[in-house]
């Protein structure tokens, strides 16, 4: 009975926002006078997120109490004798329950904040905004509860679509429209690999299922054990290849190097959208997918190492770019890329719990930072350049204190949430680096990124909130009301306290127990030979904390109060950073010069050879017709002569064949 209620609740979590989306969509057909406009959409979408959040909390509590892990609803999608097993299902387990709470909570708070950011600013197109938000919330939750890889892929694409719609919300602005296109294309590039991976997984193992007997993981594991040849190669090689293909989609969605370029541009969208989609949830879909497929990745040491290298490199790479950005949202965007790098690094090193833990904390503190930035942006009438802000801590105390909590969490300073999870991520890497020397490189990158993170975070805080106001708008900033305070304070509290759910140095392992982290650590241990005996916890924690504090204090000293002198950045390094390591330029060059140039060359084949054959055929017909039609003189005698000659010829032929002569 209780399980029935749990199943229904889990099913309703994604369905409710979908219904809200459908109603808003159909409401657009009603005439405006009937009063279906921005206000109704706001209420519908916000309420649906609220209901989903309440249900998610219920599901989380039930799952925690009963230790449940089952496929709640299972509907056949394709049903035929001998047809492959394709179904839609709702997978309820600790990971999905936790993720559902994160997504629906942030979605709800962002909806509340949107009331301030969008409605109160008198934006047009509110039904479109809230419709897309509801669709996003529903798709993301459905992705979270997906019970098989194909379903994950479908909703993975749907959230990508919502991201596109919302980045391009202000589609009249060319930069927003182009950013939306860029986000769509870049993530789609990764998704091609994902799609091939999905098809490959099915071809290799004949199932998509995450759970139950004969699941994808069991099949793959027994294939490797039995040394079976899959898809013409060894099972382990096949698993590695498929895992790397799926990783393509992950790299695109979670904005990892080299497909990270879309995320900073995505900041063209409304700030609440950045908070929800491009910080807390959608970008997390990639990392969540790897966590979901962790048992699969754990079968291949190579795939895990690639994940760790991508993550470690991205963590430092993106953090360095955040150092020189002037736009507050750009700093946060690069910081998001960098933080997801940490999660990938942890996953690649077998730190399943650490990655999910950091994902949780990051969702809260990064949403908080984005909403704080949104509050600043509205208060100063869309000033985003930090050099035009400053001194806002006196004018906007609530925003300042909550933003500070988020910044401390991001920088990884104890006892704020980010410290505990970042610490555990690094610990997971270090622990396994003892047995796998190749992990020392990403570990080093991750450790250096801690200093950089502290530095850019407090550069941002100092420039925005400290010193003297550097513009008229900053001097006269007015903080918003209830709709701003509620989300900020709620997320601020989480940024402070969420870390204690798994504070390893204090001996708290609640999250690890809940997620069954031991089991997952064993997967990695069995296949990759990662053994978690080495426990240098305290030493590492102190080092990481010292690095974070050093970076933060340095930035604070340099930027709080000071301004102009530090802006001059003429060095070669600064130039490379400001050009974003030329990755964008490289991609544009790749698309415009290489691909387009090559296409133009190739189109010559089409024009000259293919069209040439077609046109040549008609030219021959026309030419020969032109020549032959001259025999039609119109003179009767000529025709008579030809007929007579023809008869003579025919008789001669018949005679020759018939043997008359």
């Amino acid at each position: 009975m209780a399980e029935q209620a749990l199943a229904t609740a889990a099913l309703l979590i994604p369905v409710v926002p979908f219904v809200a989306f459908a109603v808003i969509l159909l409401g657009g057909l009603l005439p405006k006078e009937r009063g279906f406009g921005g206000a109704t959409s706001t209420v519908l979408s916000t309420a649906s997120a609220g209901v989903s959040f309440a249900l998610s909390v219920y599901v989380l509590l039930r799952v925690q109490a009963t230790d449940a892990s089952f496929v709640a609803v299972r509907t056949a999608w394709v049903e035929a004798t001998g047809a492959p097993d394709l179904h839609f299902g709702v997978l309820v387990d600790p990971l999905s329950a936790l993720m559902a709470v994160i997504v629906s909570l942030v979605a709800f708070l962002v909806h509340v904040f949107s009331k301030y950011y969008m409605n109160d600013e008198g934006e047009n197109g509110l039904p479109r905004y809230y419709g897309a938000m509801a669709l996003f919330t529903g798709s993301m939750l459905a992705f979270v509860f997906s019970s098989n890889l194909l379903m994950s892929f479908i909703f993975f694409e749907l959230v990508g679509l919502c991201s596109y719609l919302l980045i391009g919300f202000w589609y009249e602005t060319p930069s927003a429209a182009s950013a939306a296109k860029k986000a769509f294309l870049v993530t789609r590039f990764g998704d091609y690999f994902f799609l091939v991976g999905v098809a490959g997984v099915f071809a290799a193992f004949g199932t998509f299922a995450y759970h139950g007997d004969g699941s994808l993981f069991d099949t793959a594991a027994s294939a490797i054990e039995g040394n079976v040849s899959v898809l013409g190669v060894g099972a382990e090689t096949a698993v590695t290849a498929l895992a790397l293909l799926v990783l393509g989609g992950v790299i695109g969605k979670s904005a990892q190097f080299p497909l990270h370029t879309w995320l900073p541009d995505a900041m063209e969208g409304p700030t609440p959208v950045s908070a929800l989609i491009h910080a807390a949830t959608m970008v997390a879909a990639g990392v969540y997918l790897v966590a979901r497929l962790f048992e699969f990745y754990a079968l291949s040491p190579t795939a895990l190492l690639v994940v760790a290298y991508v993550g470690g490199f991205t963590a430092l790479f993106a953090a360095t770019m955040a150092l020189v950005m002037d736009d507050i949202k750009q700093v946060l965007a690069y910081s998001t890329i960098s933080q997801y790098g940490y999660m990938m690094l942890a996953l690649g090193a077998g730190g399943y719990t650490a990655a999910v833990f950091h994902l949780t904390n990051h969702a809260f503190f990064k949403a908080l930072l984005f909403l704080g930035a949104g509050s600043v942006i509205i208060a100063t009438h869309h000033k985003q350049d930090m050099w035009e802000l400053g001194g806002l801590r006196r004018r906007m105390p609530v925003t300042y204190w909550t933003f500070l909590a988020g910044a401390l969490a991001l920088a990884g300073i104890a006892p704020f949430s980010g410290f505990w999870s970042k610490d555990e991520a690094l610990l997971a890497v270090l622990r396994n680096a003892v047995n796998e020397p190749l992990l020392w490189v990403p570990f080093g990158l991750g450790l250096v990124a801690v200093v950089v993170t502290g530095f850019y975070t407090f550069r941002m805080v100092a420039l925005t909130f400290h010193g003297e106001p550097r513009s008229e708008e900053a001097r006269e900033a007015e903080e918003g009301g209830f709709a701003v305070y509620t989300p900020l304070v709620a997320l601020g509290a989480l940024a402070v306290f969420a870390g204690f759910i798994n504070a390893v140095p204090l001996g708290i392992h609640a999250l690890k127990t809940f997620l069954g982290g031991e089991t997952f650590a064993e997967y990695a241990a069995e296949t990759v030979g990662y053994v978690g005996e080495f426990e240098p916890s305290t030493a590492l924690s102190v080092t990481a904390l010292a690095l974070a504090v050093a970076g933060s204090v340095a930035a604070f000293r340099l930027y709080a109060g000071a301004d102009e002198p530090l802006r001059h950045r003429d060095g070669a390094t600064a130039r490379v950073l400001e050009k974003k390591y030329y990755v964008d330029a490289f991609q544009v060059w790749l698309a415009e010069d290489v691909t387009y140039g090559l296409s133009k060359r190739l189109s010559l084949f089409d024009i000259d050879i293919l069209d040439g054959v077609v046109n040549g055929t008609s030219r021959v017909s026309l030419g020969s017709g032109e020549a032959v039609r001259r025999i039609q003189t119109g003179v009767v005698s000529h025709y008579a002569a030809v007929i007579a000659l023809g008869v003579v010829g025919l008789v001669a032929l018949v005679g020759l064949v018939g043997g008359w002569f």
């Binding site: 001259r630 039609q632 003189t633 119109g634 009767v636 005698s637 008579a640 007579a644």
Partner: protein, 103 residues
């Protein structure tokens, strides 16, 4: 009775005269007359063979000749009608003048 080959050679001669006329003359009426010659050469053949074979085949050959005569008469009627129209349009029945039906 003369042997059948005589009739056949006569027929071939008449036919050739007709064909020569059709190919060389420019006056439409003369061409029509030459066509009649060719047709009648054919008739001559039919009659000759009808007599040669006799019996049912002979009856059939004679009947066929009557048909050809009837068709030839109709053809002359149509042909002369066309020539009258050609004459009205071009003022001559020279077959080299009407050259509309060409490229």
């Amino acid at each position: 009775m003369l042997p059948s080959s005589y009739y056949v050679f006569l027929s071939a001669f008449v036919f050739s005269v007709g064909l020569y006329g059709v190919l060389t003359r420019t006056n439409a009426v003369v061409i029509l007359m030459c066509v009649e010659l060719m047709l009648n050469a054919g008739n001559l053949n039919l009659i000759a063979f009808a007599t040669h074979h006799g019996g049912v085949a002979g009856i059939a050959g004679q009947t066929f000749t009557l048909f050809v005569l009837a068709v030839a008469a109709a053809e002359v009627a149509v042909g002369l009608g066309i020539f009258i129209l050609v004459y009205r349009r071009y003022g001559t029945v020279d077959v080299r003048k009407p050259r509309l039906m060409r490229w």
